[in-house]
């Protein structure tokens, strides 16, 4: 059973994993692996972006567990925590998606034991780090300072999590890194982790498998700016300088990669300048969705393709430039990959909210939804996953549509299914008296039909299968192309 180990490093890592989870929830295929194991590496334990990604992953995991293996459908791909990949419960690894830093509740100065260093060493430390670096509390991460991150993250390789990961790494497993190049945690963590995993002298087990494993990475270059405020430690005016410095390092020092994806965008409206903590909760951005697609793209290549002529470098360009990206602005390949699935997910989420609780129909009666929606925990979990104002699908689509550049393929203000795809309303035929395009009646009729044809005793599994089939049919019959 091949696995994809996905290292999401820093805030960008968390946000990209959030987008990937949404894509997988919509039914996007991730070939060449049976299971994704996200490992979020961020010392900022209270980071808002990370915590809502973890909440989403946990919710997805519960839903997928109930659904089990399926040929196609929403939540098809298995997402697992590191500790879940092995039956061995004695690995000393917590059942979580987050790498456990054990709470670095100290400043960088304390972490280095600065006061116990020799005079020469102190001089060296002062040469490499500013006073601000030294006084920086590590509880909120590295605040855009890769020089700090590269010291702290070196510890990662000696951790029980990394040993557990290596112990359970098998031939055929792949590794992918997600990081930003202009911050602190990602910029420091990615090359460091890669170097340690590919190190021929590593003390980790399964070293040969690790060395030979197909490895990809997406490195996100600046795509947002931060509000310039006095006394703020992160200055987004330095992002480009830091990117250049890091790229120059990558050029000569990245070894062992089979594919590297670069993404960037011109920053528009600046974000609130929050260096970390619960307040660092940035709106989902198109770049993060595209970064998530780089993971899908990487997994679509066969072993042979990736190994021939590696490393492969990829960049991404929109089909046509727009500050409000709709499906029509995406290149054909991307559109074919996501348009139908995201539309299906939107239809499902919308119907779930607008009509499902009040439907009076055979499918509703047969699935005993009146009781299940109110009382069964898995149905409540699905409700959270779709509609939670923190981490739900609706919220994610809203954020994407509100950010700059906006990803706005849907009109999220309308309740009319015919008008939900921006710029591509479903045509209503004049002679179609009872089925006004993609109406409530149309969906209801097809739900009832599918209810008769799908033979599944579990009401939750059947509900998801019904909606996947019906939204698939709705797209094929009514939307056709976007």
């Amino acid at each position: 059973m091949a696995k994809l180990f996905l290292f999401g490093i820093g805030g960008t890592g968390s946000r990209v994993i959030r987008s990937l989870t949404m894509l997988l929830a919509s039914g996007v295929e991730l070939p060449n692996c049976d299971r994704v194991v996200p490992i979020i590496i961020d010392p900022d334990a209270h980071n808002g972006d990370m915590n809502r990604t973890v909440a989403l992953l946990q919710s997805y995991q519960q839903v997928h567990r109930r659904l089990g293996q399926q040929e196609e459908g929403f939540f098809k791909t298995d997402i697992s925590t590191l500790s879940n990949i092995s039956a061995d419960a004695n690995g000393g690894v917590k059942d979580t998606f987050i790498f456990d830093f054990g709470g670095i509740n100290q400043s960088f100065r304390q972490y280095l034991h600065y006061d116990q260093l020799s005079v020469d060493s102190k001089a060296m430390v002062e040469l490499l780090f500013t006073q601000d670096n030294l006084e920086s509390p590590l509880t909120i991460g590295f605040r855009g300072s890769p020089n700090v991150g590269s010291v702290v993250l070196n510890k990662v390789v000696e951790s029980p999590e990394m040993r557990f990961f290596a112990d359970n790494f098998q031939e055929g497993d792949r590794v992918f890194f997600v990081s930003s190049i202009f911050g602190g945690t990602g910029a420091a963590g990615f090359p460091l982790l890669l170097k340690n995993l590919k190190d021929p002298n590593t003390r980790l087990s399964n070293a040969r498998y690790l060395r030979d494993a197909l490895t990809g990475a997406v490195t996100v270059m600046p795509y947002f700016a931060l509000q310039s405020e006095e006394n703020q430690v992160i200055d987004s005016n330095n992002f480009l300088t830091k990117t250049k410095a890091a790229l120059s390092y990558y050029e000569h020092n990245l070894q062992g990669l089979d594919a590297l994806y670069y993404l960037a965008d011109t920053p528009d409206t600046p974000y609130d300048n929050q260096p970390g903590g619960t307040q660092q909760k940035n709106k989902a951005h198109l770049i993060e969705l595209l970064a998530a697609l780089s993971i899908v793209d990487f997994m679509q290549y066969s072993d042979a393709e990736l190994r021939s002529g590696a490393p492969h470098f990829h960049e991404y360009g929109l089909g046509s430039d727009s500050m409000e990206v709709q499906f029509g602005h995406l290149p054909d390949e991307t559109r074919e990959l996501i348009a139908k699935h995201l539309t299906q997910l939107l239809y499902f989420s919308r119907y779930h909210k607008q009509h499902l609780p009040d439907d009076k129909a055979p499918y509703h009666d047969n699935l005993k939804l009146d009781y299940a929606l109110r009382n069964e925990p898995i149905f409540r979990e699905l409700n959270n996953l779709l509609h939670s104002p923190e981490f739900g699908v609706d919220q994610w689509l809203n954020e994407l549509s509100q950010n700059r550049r906006a990803f706005r393929p849907f009109d999220l203000t309308t309740e009319d299914f015919n008008a939900m795809i921006a710029g591509k309303p479903v045509e209503k035929k004049w002679n179609d008296f009872f089925n006004k395009g993609l109406s409530h009646n149309y969906i209801l009729d097809n739900l009832n039909k599918a209810d008769k044809s799908i033979n599944e005793p579990d009401n939750f599994k059947k509900l998801l299968a019904l909606f996947y089939d019906v939204t698939d049919k709705a797209f094929e019959e009514k939307v056709k192309v976007v």
């Binding site: 009076k360 129909a361 055979p362 009666d365 047969n366 009872f434 089925n435 409530h440 009646n441 149309y442 209801l444 009729d445 009832n448 039909k449 008769k452």
Partner: protein, 130 residues
């Protein structure tokens, strides 16, 4: 068949058909009985198979919609009985209205029974009325 419909329409025992009894027993009972059955079956087919399956209408399947057909069936059964009595030139008598009412009740019974038997084949009303 005549015996069956006679049994059905005289089951309560009173009131009995007036003097021209043979017309009722030989013609009117079988006619309204068969028409009533056919009408109920037709309305059930229209509700469950035409509207809620062939036409793909999925929002006309509530209990109240079924109730509309149920009472429509009763009204038509009532009218059919009066029409048949008049058509067979039965003597004007209050019994005709009693018979029409009884026919309406039987119509509702047929409609209910046909609904139970046939509803499973419907797409959108297979759980209507309950």
């Amino acid at each position: 068949m005549k015996a069956f419909f006679r049994f059905l329409y005289e089951i309560i025992g009173s009131p009995q058909p007036p003097a021209d009894t043979p017309v009722y027993r030989d013609v009117i009972f079988p006619n309204i009985g068969l028409l009533n059955l056919g009408l109920s079956l037709a309305l059930v087919v229209v509700f469950y198979y035409v509207i809620n399956r062939a036409m793909g209408v999925a929002t006309f399947n509530k209990g109240r919609h079924w109730g509309i057909f149920f009472f429509l069936n009763a009204v038509l059964a009532f009218i059919i009985a009066i029409w048949q009595a008049n058509a067979q030139q039965a003597t004007e008598h209050s019994y005709i209205y009693w018979l029409a009412t009884w026919n309406a009740v039987l119509g509702m019974l047929w409609f209910f029974l046909f609904s139970l038997l046939l509803r499973r084949g419907s797409t959108n009303a297979s759980t209507t009325p309950f």
